[in-house]
Amino acid sequence: MTTLVQSQVRDASGTRAIFMALAFGLALIASVGFASASAIHDAAHDVRHTTGFPCH
């Protein structure tokens, strides 16, 4: 019983960490690859071209 509860707690915190990392990663990728603000576009311009993100 104790083991079961502990493993459920560990799984819950692991799952939360996985979702946080996924969300943070998607936010970084979206800002480099898709954000249209001109400062971001200009800084990321060459990266977008070379990594295959549609740029203009």
Binding site: G14, G25, A44, T50, T51, F53
Partner: protein, 216 residues
């Protein structure tokens, strides 16, 4: 868990981003700058401006690969929970799979373009990019972890299907750069992408293993 994921993602992302940035500067940047002279008919930008631009490119590349690294490490953690062994060899396979999903799959219908390529609707291409990547991610995942022939068929459909209905070439093509430049740029962008993803996967696998076995 979160600390392991962050350490893995940021170390691997930094290594892969610097690799991608340097390879870009050596193999791709000159082609891109040459294409811009065809696009605008003007001379190359002065050296000082280029230095700033190149530094930004390497930094942004690190940010991008840290983003990829976070997704990769999160998925490694998920599979690790399910009992998979995560090490350098597994990292290599993860990296190659990541390249296939994020770089090769969208490039099949939306190849890396030089400045001055025929302009088509940007938002539409961005939506297709996301569709290609998500469907390829699903396809590769099912291909690796699926067990039945039916699942294999679903994987094949996810990998190929979107490209059957995906964006078409415009009727009138007005790209300004010579095709030799465009072909070289697209091919090298895939090569650089593969190398950077291999670095990302291998470093992530190594760091994850170390974090797992080392003192907590």
């Amino acid at each position: 868990m979160l600390r392991h994921i962050l350490t893995t993602a940021l170390l691997a992302g930094a290594a892969a981003g610097v690799t991608a940035g340097l390879l870009h500067l050596v193999f791709l940047q000159n082609i891109l700058l040459l294409a811009e002279t065809f696009e605008t008919g003007s001379e190359r930008a002065p050296f000082a401006l280029l230095t700033m631009r190149n530094a930004l490119t390497v930094m942004v590349m690190v940010v991008l690969y840290c983003g990829y690294g976070l997704i990769l490490a999160a998925l490694m953690a998920y599979r690790g929970q399910a009992g998979d062994r995560v090490d350098v060899r597994a990292g290599l396979l993860w990296g190659i799979a990541g390249f296939a999903v994020v770089t090769l799959a969208p490039a099949f219908s939306l190849p890396a373009q030089l400045p001055g390529a025929t302009e088509t609707d940007l938002a539409m291409r961005q939506i297709w990019w996301v569709i290609f990547v998500l469907s390829a991610a699903g396809g590769v995942w099912i291909l690796v972890y699926g067990k039945t022939p039916g699942q294999g068929a679903v994987a094949a459909l996810l990998l190929v299907g979107p490209h059957l209905v995906g964006p078409l070439l415009p009727d009138v093509l007005t790209g300004s750069a010579p095709m030799e430049l465009a072909a070289l740029f697209t091919a090298r962008s895939l090569g650089v992408g593969l190398l950077a993803w291999i670095v990302l996967g291998v470093v992530a696998g190594a760091v994850w293993r170390r974090e797992q076995t080392g003192p907590a």
